[in-house]
Structure formats: C-alpha cells, structure tokens
C-alpha cells in the first residue's frame, strides 16, 4: 500500500509569491494534518482536516490556508511568501480524528528567496 504522498518534493519561490502544496493520505485515512519544520526544530502544527472540515489550526498567520477534498487529499496554500516561510512542510494522515498513530509523508522542501 502507498504511504502518504506529497508534491512537489522541492520548490523555490521568491518573496511575495503564492505556493500550493499537495498531500494524498493513506488509503482509508480521513484525517490530514499539516506541519512546518524549520531547520533545527521540531515540526509545528499548522492545520488538521477531518472529513473535509477544519478541526484545528495552529498559531500561523492568515496567509496560510488549507482545504480537504472529497477524496480526502489536501492542499496547503501560503500567500505573500516571506523568507521565514522557508521550511520543510509535512503532511500526516490518520484514520480517525484523534490520530493515535499519524503517518507522515516525505515532505515538501520550500525555499523562499
């Protein structure tokens, strides 16, 4: 079975641009969460979606938004990119809302110049 997949693998953008990151959860998983990992730190929670509804939002500005589609895949959108948005963006899926076991994808490495 395929694990969590994310696209693209790497992305380079300039300040002020917009970016869309994509995630496909493990088949049968209905919850998707997004995390940002800056070098040298642990992942920081951005959003959780379960059954296409937002179930949690971390301490990130409104430039960050996300959605979940009927097939449970998800997109993370970031507007007006800043240099500080450069990070590894991780997607995690779990079968239920509580997500006792969350499975992470390989991440998308975003570099903002």
């Amino acid at each position: 079975d395929a694990g969590v997949t994310q696209s693209p693998t790497h992305l380079i953008k300039t300040r002020g641009q917009h970016v869309t990151l994509r995630c496909s959860p493990i088949s049968g998983h209905k919850s998707v969460s997004w995390y940002q990992q800056v070098l040298g730190q642990g992942p920081q929670f951005i959003f959780q979606y379960y059954e296409k509804e937002e179930r949690g939002r971390g301490n990130f500005p409104d430039r960050f938004s996300a959605r979940q589609f009927p097939n449970y895949s998800s997109e993370l959108n970031v507007n007006a990119l800043l240099l500080g948005d450069s990070a590894l963006y991780l997607c995690a899926s779990s079968s239920g809302n509580l997500g006792n076991e969350q499975f992470f994808g390989p991440g998308t490495r975003l570099t903002v110049l």
Binding site: G42, G56, P106
Partner: protein
C-alpha cells in the same frame, strides 16, 4: 512557550548498548505521547506511543516509560544498532477536542557507533 522539551540535542552510544532519550512536558492536558524517528530527506516515522493511563509500553527493542508526576518520558532502545542513528522526536497530544494536533520537541540526534 515550549511545552515539550528534549534537552539533549545529541546522544552518542556504542552498538549493542542501551540508548536512552529523554523528554519533558509542561502541559498536564497531554494524554497521549509518541516517539518518531526521522532520517534526513524523509518524513518522521512512527516508533512507539503511550497513553497517559499507562507507565510503560514495549515494542521489540523499544520501550517508552512515562512518569506523569514528573511530566517526563523516556525512550529506551536495547540493543542499539547503527541503523538507529537518526533524529528522534518526542510528541504529545491533548485530550478532549484538540483532534490529532501534536506538539513536538526539538529532537535529539542519536548516533550509534559500530
């Protein structure tokens, strides 16, 4: 406000010996704790977890201990193998309506020397 802390950025052990990774938390609302392992250029891989109603959980070479009164948990790896060399993250989840949001520590780089 760092609610989950891993105070040791790095740990080096000899192959075959025990590795002990430590994690402290401050929020008493956390009810579920997880350990993840991360290799470079890969996403974190789930290792083992423990509910706050238990004080120990074991899975093969990996054992997690939870001391609620001290708000401390540890991961024991016995015996350590060179393939265990990776960054280890401790994570915690709140009960109630917090969904699956995880709060991570900063990570500990484990190096197992042959």
């Amino acid at each position: 406000d760092q609610q989950v802390k891993q105070n040791s950025p790095s740990l080096s052990v000899q192959e075959g010996r025990i590795s002990i990774l430590n994690c402290d938390y401050t929020n008493s609302m956390f009810d579920y704790f997880l350990w993840y392992k991360k290799y470079p250029a890969e996403g974190p891989t789930f290792l083992i977890s423990i509910s706050s109603i238990k004080d120990k959980n074991e899975d093969g070479r990996f054992t997690v201990f939870l001391n609620k009164s001290a708000k401390h948990l540890s991961l024991h790896i016995v015996p350590s193998q060179p393939g265990d060399s990776a960054v280890y993250f401790c994570a915690a989840r709140k009960g109630g309506t917090s969904g699956s949001r995880l709060t991570f520590g900063e990570g500990t780089q484990l190096t197992v020397n042959p």
